[in-house]
Amino acid sequence: VTVEGVWVADTPAALQAKLHSLRALLGKRARLWRADDTEQQWRIARCLEVRSQKEPGSQGHAEIGLRFQLFPGPWNGAARTVNATLDASPKTLTCNNAGNVRVDNAVVTVTAAGSAITQVRVRVANVSDIRWNGNLAVGQTLTLDCGARTARIGSTDAYAGWEYLSGHVVPEWLRLQPGNNSVLIYRTGGSSASTAQITFNDGWA
C-alpha cells in the first residue's frame, strides 16, 4: 500500500516535528488503519518507506509518501466477542462475520472450571477440526490465537498437544466465512461451568 499526500502545519517547526514522528515509523510493524464515513478498519502492516518533500518557500507544508508491506489477512472491521458456557459438549458458538471476506485470525479461549480439561476441540463442519490435548487446570485459560498460530496457557507455550483431525481441510486453524459460522467447542473434562470465548473482527476486502 502506498499512501501519498500533503501535510500542512502552522509553522515550519511544527511541520518538521510531524515529519520526524512520521519517519519514526520506518521499519515498524503495527496496525494500519483505513476509514471511510462509516467505519474504521485495520490490518497488520510494516512501514517500508517514508518520503517527504518540501518546496522552497513553502515551509508550512510538505508532500509525503508512505509505502507499507501488508501482512496476510483481511482488513479488520468491527470487533466481535462470542461468549458461552460449556454446559454441553459440543457447544455451538455462532460467530457472525459481518464483513465480506473470510477471517482466519480469531482468538479462541477456553477456561476450565470444576475440574481440569484435558482436551479442547474446535470444529467448523467441513472446514476445520483441530484439537488440543493437555491439562488445563481449573481457572486456567487456553488461548488459541488462530492468526498468530499460537497455543498458550496463560503465557506458557502449549503447542505440544496440538493435532489436526481428519476433518481439517484448510491451512488456517479456524476460518470464519462471511455470515454465520457455527463453531463447535468440545471439551473433555471440566464442568459445565467451563467457559469459552471467540473474539474476531469482521473481515473486509
Binding site: 470444529r123 467441513n126 505440544a160 481439517h168
Partner: protein
C-alpha cells in the same frame, strides 16, 4: 501454497507456541537406501526462530488434496544467517531418517530358528543307546542306529522300548541321543504309538564339556503323568556351556541332547511297553526373511519398530555395532537370487518415523523427463529438464571377486549356483560377472565382506554353509552393481507438480549435438530400460509444491563418493578388529595356571598361563544375545578398562545363587540397555523384567504389595480392562454418606456425579427428603412459596417460604442456617438434522428412533438425512446456601439466600429454577445433624433398610459424619445381611465405635463399664477386664495390655484377685510364671488327692505298692518315710500298723524302733539282734537285753519297784570328775575318791560292800 513447519523435540513433541508460518520455502531430498537432506528459509525476525536449535526436528506440513499432509522432516544441523532485507535464516540438515544412524543394532544376528530334519548324516545324528547285560557286566549296545526315525519320512518308524534291557535297572528306559552340528532350542518327536504307562517323566541331559548335565525343559509330549504320550516338542533354552562331544561309538561329534523315560517310584518292573518313533527333528538356526523387523527393533522408540514386510530372499548376517541405518543398507547390499536372477531390495523414508521397505519393487513414475523444445517422444506425463549432468565412471568396476567372510569362510561350502550371467568356480573360490568381463576384461578383487560371518563359531557345517551362501549372495550383488560401468545423472527440472519418490523409475530423453556430434545421447524410451530415481528434490513455496531436481542412474545404487568409500572402509576395519576368526575356541575353566589376581577382570581361577590364551568361547561364557551392557567381554580388545567386569554365571544349585549382602545392583551405561530380566517364558515374555531405559517393571503374573504410591498421577492402562474381585472404595466410605465405592457387581455409590447424559433402565429418585421431612428429619423444613432462581456460587437471591401452619409470625429458619434446595427438572426435548454427507464425529451420541451410539473411533457418514432427537434427561442437583430473614408478607417469609461458594454451592446451574412448593431443608449450623430412615440404599436396596443419625461440620456438602445406624449395616461394614446397631465415629482401626449385630458384638477403642449404685464397677476394654469394690479398692484384674493397677505394674497375661494395697491378693505373673498368694490357703472338700498334684516337689512321691524307685520322701499305701535308694532301705519309716523306725540297725549305725503291738520302744546299734535298751509297756526300762524272751529282764532294769541289777552288776554314785574301772578286785571310783561311793552286790551272798566294807543282809 500455504505450509507450516513444526519444530519438535527428539521425542516427537511439538515445541513452542505454534508452528512457523513465515518460511519462504522448504526443500526435501529423500534418498533411496539412505538418509536424505532438507532445508528451509525463514525470516530472522519471526519470534519463532528462537525454536531453531541443533538436533531438533523440523517437520513441514501443508494441506494437500484436502488433507493435512506431512511433506518431510529433518534434523537441524546447520543454521545460517543470511543478512539482507529482510535478514533470513537458512536451516538445513539430514532428513529424519538420520535418526536411524543414532542407534546401534549391537551384535545383532540376522537369522531365525526353524525345524531341521536329522536325515543328513553329515549334519546330525539320532541314536538309541541301550545297555545290555553280559554276565555280570554292563555292556553298551553298539547297535544304536534307528534310521527310520530320522529319514525325513513320517510314515516310517522305529520301536523304542521304555524299559532298559539291563537286569536290575528296569525303571529307566534307554537313552535316546539327538545330535546336531549346531546348537538348537527344541526337539520335535513324532510318534505313531504312544507310551501308555503312568508315572513316567522325561529326563533330559546335555553335554557340558566335561560331563552330562540336566537340561531343564518343557515336555510337550506329556499327557497327565505319562511322557511320550503324544507327539510334541521338547523345549529348552540353549545351555551356555553346551559343547560338542562324541557320545557313543560311531555316533559322531555333535551337540547332543539325550533323553530317556524315567519311572516314578514305585516302579513297575514288569512293564514292557514301547513306543513307535516316526521322526525326530530339531529347531535350529536358519537364515531369515525377517531381517527388517530384527533391525528396526533397535530403532529409536519414536519410530515404527515392527510390522515391516519380509524380505524377498532369506538373509544371514551378523552385525557388530553398526547403526540401524547401516544395518538396513547392509541388508539391501546382501542381495540374493530370485528365479535365477540376482536381485537387490530397497527401502526409503515412509510416513512419519517409519521406513518403507520396497523389496524388489521399483514402480514406474509414469513420467518422462525431456529437454524443453525437443519433440515429444512416447507417452506419459512430461517433465521439462532445465539442466543435466552426466557422470560415467568405471573406476569402481570389478568383474571377478575372490571373497572371504569376516571369519575366513569361502565359497567352498555354498549350496548356491551362479545366476544367469555369472560364472562360479568353487575350486578357484571366485565369482565372475560375464558381461563385465567381456566388456572391461578381467578385473579381479580379493575382497573380505565383513558383515558375513558364522554365527556359531564351533559349528562345522551348518553355520559355515549358511555363511558361505550369504557370502555368495553378497558377491553376486556386488558384481551386479559394480561389474559394469554405470551412468549417474543429475537433472534440474522445471518445478513439476508431482511428488516423485526414490525407488521409482523414470524415462529420460535428452539429446545434445555439438557441431554435429551427438554429445549427449540419452533415450531410455528407445532402450526400454528406464532410469532409477535415487534422490528427488521436492520444493515447497507459497506458489506451490513440486519436484525440482532428480538424481537418477542406470543402476539402483548410489554413486560411490570419497566419503562413502571412506565410511565403508572404516566400518570394515572396525568389524575386523572385533571379529573372532573361525578357529577352534578353547573354554577356559578351572585353575589353568598363572598367579595374577585377574586378567582383564577374569578371576584368577580362570587366568591362563602367559601366552596360552588363544580365545575365549563366547557362547560358553556370555551368549551373544545376552551381553548385558553392549560390550563383548569375551574379546578383550573390545573392552575399555572402565567397561570390564567379572563374568558371572550361576547355576540352579542353591549354593551358586547370587546373594548380595547390603549391596545393590548398579547398571551404569546407556539407559536403554540396562535391563534386569528373567528368561523368556513360554508365553514369549519374561516373568520379570526391569527396564531402566523405559523406566518400567514387568511382572508376568502377580504383584503383591500393600501400597502403590506415585509422585505423579497414577495411571492404569491394561490392554483390555481393569478387573477386580473386590470393591474399590475410599477409606472413609459409608454408604450414601461419605467417600465412594464401586463393587465388582456393578454397584457404585458416589457423593456427586456429573453425566452429559444418563441412561438408566430404572431410575429411583431419592425424594424422601422432599416429603415434608417424613424421611429426613432435620432442624426445620418449609415449602417454597415461589419459584427460586439459583444464584451464582457466592451470589444472593430471594427465597420465599410458607410459614408453619398455625404459627404465624414464627420464623421457619434461623439466620445463618444452612439450607438445602434441590432442583428436579427434565431437559426439554429437541432435534438436530444432519444432512447428507455430513460427518458425525466419533464419540458423539445421536438419538434417533431409540438410541444409536457411535462406537469409539468410528465415524458415521450420513447418507440421506438423519434427524437426531435429544433431551428428556432428568437432572437432580443441589443448591446450598445460608439464609437471613428479610420480611413476612401474607404468611410468606422472605429470606436472603446466599449461595455457598466453590464445590459446596451444589451442582444446580446458575439460573436454575427450583419450583414453588419444593421443600427447603434447614440443616442448621455446623455440629447439627439429621435423622434419616432409608429403605432404598444401594442396588436392589442391598444396604437398607436402616435408620441413622448423621451430623455435619463446616458444611454438609462435604462434612457429613455417621453417628449411629440401626438396621442393615452392609453399607458400613460391607458384610451382606448384617443387621444390628452401629454407633461411633468411623470404621477404621483407630475409630471408636460400637457394633452389635448378627456378625459381631464389637467395641472398637471403647471401654465397657458396668456400674453399681454404691461405687462397685467392672470395666472391660482392650487392656483387660478390671473390677473395683465399693470402696474403690481393686477386686480383680485380667490384663491384656501392660497397665498400672492398684500400684502394681501388671503385664499382658497377668491376673490379680484381691487388693494389692491391702496386701491380700493372688497375683499370677505371666512373664515370671509365678503365682503369689498374699494370705492364707484353705482347701476344703473335696480334698486334694496326691494324683491331683502335678509336677510334684523333687524327691517327694507316692507309691501304692512295691518298692520306691528313688531316694526321697515317700508316702506309700502302708508306709511314710525317707527311702534311701543307695542302701535300698528306709532311713526312717512309719508303718500303717504303727511300727516306727528311725535310723537303721546296721553296722556303724543305730536305730530306734517302736512297736505298738508289744509296746516296746527299743534302741539298737551296730546291727545287733537284741536291743541295747528297751522301754517296755509295763513301764520298765531294761538295759542290756540279753535274751529274745520278752519276759527276761535286762541286766539292769528300772520299774516302779525300783532299780534292779543282775548278779555282778554294781551301782555307783558320788561326785567329782574322776573315774575308775570296776573289774576284778581293783577299786575304781567315779569322782573324788573322798566323796564317791561304790556299792558291790552279791545276791548269792546277800551281802553288799560299800566302799570296800561289806554289809551283810540278814534273812528274815
Amino acid at each position: 501454497m500455504e505450509f507450516w513447519i513444526d519444530i519438535e523435540a527428539g521425542d516427537g513433541n511439538k515445541l513452542g507456541s505454534g508452528p512457523i508460518t513465515t518460511a519462504t520455502n522448504w526443500e526435501h531430498t529423500p534418498r533411496l537406501d539412505a538418509a536424505g537432506t532438507f532445508s528451509f528459509t525463514m525470516p530472522a525476525s519471526d519470534p519463532k526462530a528462537a525454536l531453531l536449535q541443533h538436533k531438533r526436528v523440523a517437520r513441514c506440513r501443508a494441506i494437500v488434496g484436502g488433507t493435512v499432509t506431512d511433506l518431510g522432516a529433518g534434523i537441524i544441523d546447520e543454521i545460517s544467517v543470511n543478512v539482507g532485507d529482510p535478514t533470513m535464516l537458512d536451516v538445513s540438515g539430514p532428513d529424519i531418517m538420520q535418526e536411524l544412524a543414532t542407534r546401534t543394532v549391537g551384535r545383532l544376528a540376522i537369522c531365525e530358528q526353524g525345524w531341521r530334519s536329522l536325515n543328513d548324516p553329515a549334519r546330525s545324528m539320532l541314536g538309541w543307546f541301550r545297555n545290555s547285560l553280559s554276565g555280570d557286566n554292563i555292556v553298551p549296545n553298539e547297535d544304536i542306529a534307528i534310521p527310520l526315525s530320522h529319514d525325513g519320512n513320517a510314515d516310517t518308524y522305529e520301536s523304542i522300548y521304555l524299559q532298559s534291557e539291563l537286569d536290575g535297572f528296569p525303571t529307566h528306559g534307554a537313552w535316546l541321543y539327538v545330535g546336531h552340528d549346531a546348537r538348537f532350542d527344541r526337539i520335535r518327536l513324532t510318534f505313531s504309538q504312544y507310551n501308555t504307562n503312568d508315572d513316567c517323566i522325561l529326563q533330559c541331559q546335555y553335554y557340558n564339556g566335561s560331563g552330562w548335565s540336566t537340561l531343564n525343559h518343557t515336555d510337550g509330549t506329556r499327557v497327565g503323568t505319562r511322557t511320550w504320550a503324544q507327539s510334541g516338542e521338547i523345549t529348552f533354552n540353549r545351555p551356555a556351556n553346551w559343547a560338542r562331544y562324541t557320545a557313543a561309538y560311531g555316533a559322531g561329534n555333535w551337540f547332543w541332547v539325550r533323553m530317556r523315560v524315567q519311572r516314578v517310584p514305585p516302579a513297575n518292573p514288569s512293564s514292557t511297553s514301547y513306543v513307535r518313533l516316526n521322526e525326530v527333528e530339531v529347531y535350529a538356526d536358519i537364515p531369515t526373511t525377517n531381517g527388517v523387523n530384527l533391525i528396526m527393533n533397535h530403532a529409536p522408540t519414536t519410530w515404527t519398530r515392527s510390522g515391516y514386510p519380509q524380505t524377498v530372499t532369506e538373509k544371514y548376517l551378523e552385525f557388530d555395532g553398526e547403526t540401524v541405518l547401516a544395518a538396513l543398507i547392509a541388508l539391501c547390499e546382501q542381495g540374493g537370487q530370485s528365479s535365477n536372477e540376482a536381485i537387490r531390495e530397497h527401502f526409503r523414508l515412509g510416513t512419519g518415523r517409519a521406513i518403507e521397505w520396497l523389496g524388489t519393487t521399483q514402480p514406474s513414475s509414469g513420467l518422462r523427463a525431456q529437454r524443453g523444445g525437443d519433440a515429444t517422444e512416447g507417452g506419459g506425463e512430461l517433465c521439462i529438464i532445465e539442466s543435466l549432468t552426466e557422470r560415467r565412471d568405471s573406476s569402481e568396476a570389478v568383474t571377478r571377486i575372490y571373497p572371504t567372510s569376516a571369519d575366513g569362510i569361502t565359497l567352498a561350502l555354498t549350496t548356491r549356483s551362479a545366476p544367469t550371467g555369472y560364472t562360479f568356480s568353487r575350486g578357484g573360490n571366485y565369482l565372475q560377472h560375464n558381461a563385465g568381463a567381456g566388456a572391461l576384461g578381467i578385473i579381479e578383487a580379493w575382497m573380505r565382506f565383513s558383515d558375513v560371518s558364522t554365527q556359531q563359531a564351533d559349528s562345522r557345517t551348518e553355520h559355515p554353509t549358511m555363511a558361505s551362501n550369504a557370502l555368495f549372495d553378497r558377491v553376486v550383488e556386488y558384481l551386479r552393481t559394480h561389474g559394469e560401468a554405470q551412468r549417474f545423472y543429475d537433472l534440474s527440472v522445471v518445478q513439476f507438480p508431482k511428488l516423485l519418490r526414490p525407488g521409482e523409475t523414470i524415462d529420460v530423453v535428452y539429446h545434445d549435438y555439438v557441431d554435429g556430434y551427438h554429445a549427449v545421447d540419452i533415450d531410455t524410451v528407445a532402450l526400454g530400460t528406464p532410469l532409477h530415481i535415487l534422490a528427488p528434490t521436492i520444493r515447497i513455496t507459497p506458489e506451490g509444491v513440486g519436484t525440482i531436481a532428480l538424481e537418477v542412474a542406470t543402476i539402483d545404487r548410489p554413486a560411490q563418493s570419497d566419503a562413502s568409500v571412506l565410511a565403508n572402509t572404516v566400518r570394515d576395519v572396525q568389524r575386523m578388529s572385533g571379529t573372532v576368526s573361525n578357529v577352534t575356541t578353547q573354554i577356559i575353566s578351572g585353575d589353568v595356571g598363572g598367579d595374577a589376581d585377574t586378567v582383564d577382570g577374569f578371576h584368577a581361577s580362570n587366568t591362563p598361563n602367559p601366552n596360552t590364551l588363544l580365545a575365549l568361547n563366547a557362547n560358553a561364557q556370555w551368549p551373544l544375545s545376552t551381553i548385558p551392557d553392549g560390550y563383548d567381554h569375551t574379546k578383550l580388545s573390545n573392552v575399555l578398562p572402565d567397561q570390564h567386569h567379572n563374568p558371572v554365571s550361576l547355576s540352579a544349585s542353591a549354593q551358586y545363587l547370587l546373594s548380595l549382602n547390603d549391596q545393590q545392583i548398579d547398571m551404569p551405561g546407556v539407559a536403554a540397555s540396562r535391563v534386569l530380566a528373567s528368561p523368556i517364558g513360554s508365553s514369549g515374555t519374561p516373568q520379570f523384567r526391569a527396564d531402566v531405559g523405559l523406566n518400567s517393571l514387568t511382572l508376568g503374573t502377580k504383584l503383591t504389595t500393600p501400597l502403590i504410591d506415585s509422585a505423579a498421577a497414577l495411571m492404569l492402562s491394561p490392554t483390555t480392562r481393569t478387573q477386580t474381585d473386590r470393591a474399590i472404595a475410599s477409606d472413609d466410605y459409608i454408604s450414601r454418606l461419605t467417600g465412594w465405592q464401586i463393587t465388582p457387581y456393578g454397584a457404585a455409590d458416589f457423593r456427586f456425579g456429573y453425566f452429559d447424559e444418563l441412561h438408566a433402565q430404572s431410575f429411583i429418585a431419592d425424594l424422601e427428603q422432599a416429603l415434608a421431612g417424613g424421611q429426613i428429619i432435620c432442624k426445620s423444613v418449609a415449602p417454597l412459596a415461589a419459584d427460586f432462581i439459583a444464584p451464582a456460587p457466592g451470589g444472593d437471591g430471594d427465597l420465599y417460604v410458607h410459614e408453619f401452619p398455625g404459627f404465624g409470625g414464627f420464623r421457619v429458619f434461623v439466620d445463618d442456617d444452612l439450607i438445602r434446595l434441590r432442583q428436579f427438572y427434565r431437559e426439554s426435548p429437541g432435534s438436530m438434522t444432519y444432512t447428507e454427507d455430513t460427518t458425525i464425529p466419533a464419540n458423539e451420541f445421536v438419538y434417533h428412533a431409540g438410541v444409536v451410539s457411535v462406537a469409539d473411533g468410528v465415524t458415521l457418514t450420513v447418507e440421506g438425512e438423519l434427524v437426531a432427537d435429544y433431551g428428556n434427561s432428568l437432572y437432580i442437583t443441589d443448591c446450598w446456601g445460608t439464609v437471613a430473614y428479610h420480611s413476612t408478607t401474607d404468611g410468606v417469609q422472605r429470606y436472603t439466600f446466599t449461595r455457598s461458594g466453590g464445590d459446596r454451592a451444589g451442582q444446580a446451574p446458575t439460573g436454575a429454577v427450583i419450583k414453588a412448593e419444593s421443600l427447603a431443608l434447614d440443616y442448621g449450623i455446623s455440629g447439627n445433624g439429621y435423622y434419616e430412615v432409608n429403605a432404598i440404599d444401594g442396588p436392589m436396596a442391598e444396604n437398607s433398610p436402616y435408620a441413622q443419625v448423621v451430623t455435619w461440620s463446616d458444611h454438609p456438602a462435604d462434612g457429613l459424619s455417621l453417628r449411629t445406624r440401626m438396621g442393615n449395616l452392609r453399607g458400613v461394614f460391607g458384610t451382606a445381611d448384617e443387621f444390628g446397631l452401629y454407633a461411633g465415629d468411623g470404621v477404621s482401626a483407630s475409630s471408636r465405635y460400637l457394633r452389635i449385630s448378627n456378625e459381631a458384638v464389637e467395641m472398637r477403642n471403647l471401654p465397657l463399664l458396668m456400674l453399681g449404685n454404691s461405687g462397685a464397677r467392672v470395666e472391660a476394654h482392650s487392656g483387660g477386664l478390671f473390677g473395683l469394690d465399693n470402696s474403690g479398692a481393686g477386686a480383680f484384674a485380667l490384663v491384656t495390655n501392660p497397665v498400672s493397677w492398684q500400684g502394681q505394674a501388671l503385664d499382658a497375661g497377668d491376673v490379680m484377685i484381691g487388693s494389692a494395697t491391702a496386701g491380700q491378693y493372688i497375683h499370677w505373673d505371666a512373664s515370671e510364671t509365678r503365682l503369689t498368694v498374699a494370705g492364707d490357703i484353705l482347701i476344703q472338700n473335696p480334698v486334694i488327692d496326691w494324683n491331683d498334684v502335678l509336677n510334684k516337689p523333687a524327691g517327694a512321691a507316692r507309691l501304692g505298692t512295691g518298692t520306691p524307685s528313688s531316694t526321697g520322701l515317700w508316702l506309700t499305701a502302708t508306709r511314710l518315710g525317707y527311702w534311701n535308694a543307695s542302701v535300698n532301705d528306709w532311713q526312717a519309716v512309719i508303718q500303717s500298723d504303727g511300727v516306727t523306725r528311725f535310723g537303721r540297725n546296721v553296722s556303724g549305725s543305730t536305730a530306734m524302733t517302736w512297736d505298738p503291738s508289744t509296746g516296746r520302744l527299743r534302741f539298737f546299734g551296730g546291727g545287733a539282734s537284741l536291743p541295747r535298751m528297751e522301754l517296755r509297756a509295763d513301764g520298765a526300762l531294761h538295759i542290756g537285753i540279753h535274751s529274745s524272751d520278752p519276759s527276761v529282764d535286762g541286766r539292769v532294769f528300772l520299774n516302779q519297784d525300783g532299780i534292779s541289777f543282775q548278779d555282778g552288776r554294781s551301782a555307783f554314785w558320788g561326785a567329782g570328775t574322776g573315774s575308775t574301772t570296776l573289774s576284778g578286785s581293783t577299786d575304781t571310783y567315779w569322782g573324788d575318791p573322798q566323796h564317791s561311793h561304790r556299792v558291790s552286790l552279791s545276791v548269792s551272798g546277800r551281802r553288799m560292800r560299800i566302799d570296800g566294807v561289806w554289809c551283810i543282809a540278814i534273812p528274815e
